[in-house]
């Protein structure tokens, strides 16, 4: 049954959207401060304008309703979907003013890539990008990775009676603590510890290798949040290849693993239940995926002439498998070198991207839990086929608690799997229609939809405008995992259809 939005719902949605944009405006003070401290006066004005515009939009939206009323699940879905879209557009304003983007669409693509923790980039002359703009690009990973709603809920931005609905609408389902505000704050605590560790470790590593303190600190902070939030942006155009540093690659891979871990698992391990990581179906599935795909990648690379050395199979092969599977997208080769890795490695990395990391993390893709559930489902059906007709065959698995594999769980896993496959293939076919090789187009499509960010070179300022739109939409669909975006589109479309107000 489709129900049209009422005026009271629209003003409530606008009000909460305004509150969330207020938070986005506040965060823009960080790149503004960075610009001032770095004596980057043009970027400082870009962020002054950005903060002003965002706050103006925020105030206008909040004024549509004078008080924050409790919100329904439907309103929560709308707010979540619109918050992501609105934040993407407003966050793009300082970037387009920087002059490093060919158009406003390019800067929208960049912020969409940032908030969805994809990492595909259209920045021009990135090696000369101001610290303030790099700070803002990487902060979009931090906000998007943790979740715009999570950020707002943890700050308890006056969200009455609908905090949990908003939280669920953003595609989160962790219930680490009884109160959603406390759960959101715990997620930030875990993030804070890992970001502090990563920044410290990489800064020391940078200083050891001769970087100046300020440059080492900034690069380390940016790479840390890009790796932990499995985003994949980097401050240099050649991404992590720029550094040619094995220790940096190792530290960032540790951060990627931390970022791809389910937040509920973090909570269990930090509560003292260390055994959980070994018996958890999702952890086992993820481990198996990584090891099998690494083996394929290394086997394929061993047969090549350029990438067959021991160092290459580890630092390029295994590195890119984990970068792909975690959804990070840090890349330590040039785009043209994917061909040198050989087809087995190329497709192993593609599969790693498609499979994705854990649920309730910053990773994208189909997710290890769903893959584990699907495998268990196949085994269950085989067992049923081999059992007498009167036998009752059930299977259990462990994911935080012991669970029975129900038809509902199986259906949900297969539905999302099908939606992802459809999205991957559609984007790939559209890329091929624009004239790109099918393999490259499929790789890029999966990279966008699974919010990874590895690139064969298709993503560039020169790519067709239509493809920029396609990848932007795919990044949003992947991050919000279909439901929120579909609900938003359905609600908007149905509200525009004349006729009966309610079905």
């Amino acid at each position: 049954m489709w129900i049209r939005l009422q005026n009271s719902e629209i003003s409530s949605i606008a009000h909460y959207l305004g509150r969330l944009m207020f938070g986005v405006g506040l965060v823009q003070l960080v790149p503004l401060l960075t610009a001032v401290l770095s004596r980057e006066w043009d970027p400082a004005f870009d962020y002054l304008f950005g903060v002003g515009l965002t706050m103006l939009v925020s105030v206008l939206l909040m004024s549509l309703s004078t008080e924050a009323s409790a919100i329904s699940r439907r309103e929560a879905l709308m707010i979540s979907g619109l918050a992501w879209l609105t934040a993407t557009v407003l966050a793009a304003v300082p970037l387009v003013l920087s002059g490093h983007y060919g158009s406003f669409l390019d800067s929208i693509f960049e912020t969409a890539s940032g908030f969805t923790t994809s990492g595909l980039t259209l920045t021009q002359d990135m090696d000369h990008l101001a610290n303030a703009h790099n700070m803002w690009r990487h902060l979009t990973h931090l906000i998007g990775g943790q979740g715009i709603i999570v950020a707002a809920v943890s700050l308890a931005i006056g969200i009455k009676g609908g905090a949990f609905s908003l939280y669920l609408a953003e595609g989160r389902d962790e219930q680490i603590l009884p109160n959603v505000v406390h759960t959101a704050r715990f997620i930030w605590f875990v993030t804070g510890i890992w970001v502090a560790f990563g920044t410290l470790a990489l800064t020391v590593n940078g200083l050891w290798h001769g970087m100046s303190f300020d440059r080492s600190f900034l690069h380390s902070f940016w790479l840390t949040i890009a790796a932990y939030d499995t985003g994949g942006f980097g401050p240099q155009s050649s991404n992590t290849l720029f550094y040619h540093n094995a220790m940096l690659e190792f530290i960032t891979v540790v951060l990627m693993m931390a970022g791809t871990l389910n937040f509920n698992l973090h909570a269990d391990l930090w509560r003292g239940d260390k055994g959980e990581i070994f018996k958890n179906l999702e952890a086992r599935t993820l481990s198996a995926n990584l090891l099998i795909l690494t083996a394929f990648a290394a086997a394929g690379m061993a047969a090549t002439s350029l990438m067959g050395s021991a160092s290459e199979v580890v630092r390029k092969g295994a590195y890119h498998v984990i970068s792909a599977n975690s959804g990070t997208g840090h890349q330590s080769i040039y785009a043209v070198q994917w061909e040198d890795m050989g087809p087995a490695a190329f497709y192993a990395v593609m599969l790693a991207m498609a499979f994705g990391g854990m649920v309730s993390s910053t990773a994208g893709g189909i997710k290890a839990l769903r893959i584990g559930v699907m495998i268990k489902s196949v085994v269950l059906e085989v067992r049923r086929a081999l059992s007498p007709p009167s036998a009752v065959v059930r299977t259990k698995f462990h994911h935080l608690t012991d669970r029975v594999l129900t038809p509902e769980l199986m259906a949900a896993a297969f539905m999302i799997f099908a939606l992802y496959i459809f999205t991957y293939i559609t984007g790939g076919l559209i890329g091929a229609a624009y004239g790109y090789p099918l393999g490259d187009a499929l790789f890029e499509s999966i990279s966008a939809a699974a919010n990874v960010g590895l690139s064969t070179g298709i993503t560039s300022p020169d790519m067709p405008t239509g493809l920029k739109w396609v990848y932007t939409i795919q990044m949003w669909i992947g991050r919000l995992e279909f439901l929120t975006l579909f609900a938003l589109v359905a609600a908007v479309v149905h509200s525009l259809v004349p006729g009966r107000r309610n079905a």
Partner: protein, 42 residues
């Protein structure tokens, strides 16, 4: 067994240290798998 909402901040340091250890060990295992695969197929 039903999960209980125990304090997740209680053992955060040992939990963090344990994660660091497990991730490092797993990365080493991935590297080993890569090298073994290279040796078999090279």
């Amino acid at each position: 067994m039903e999960r209980r909402f125990h304090n997740p901040y209680r053992y955060w340091a040992s939990g963090f240290g344990f994660e660091l250890l497990v991730f490092s060990a797993f990365i080493a295992l991935m590297a080993l798998v890569a090298l073994v695969a290279r040796w078999i197929f090279g």
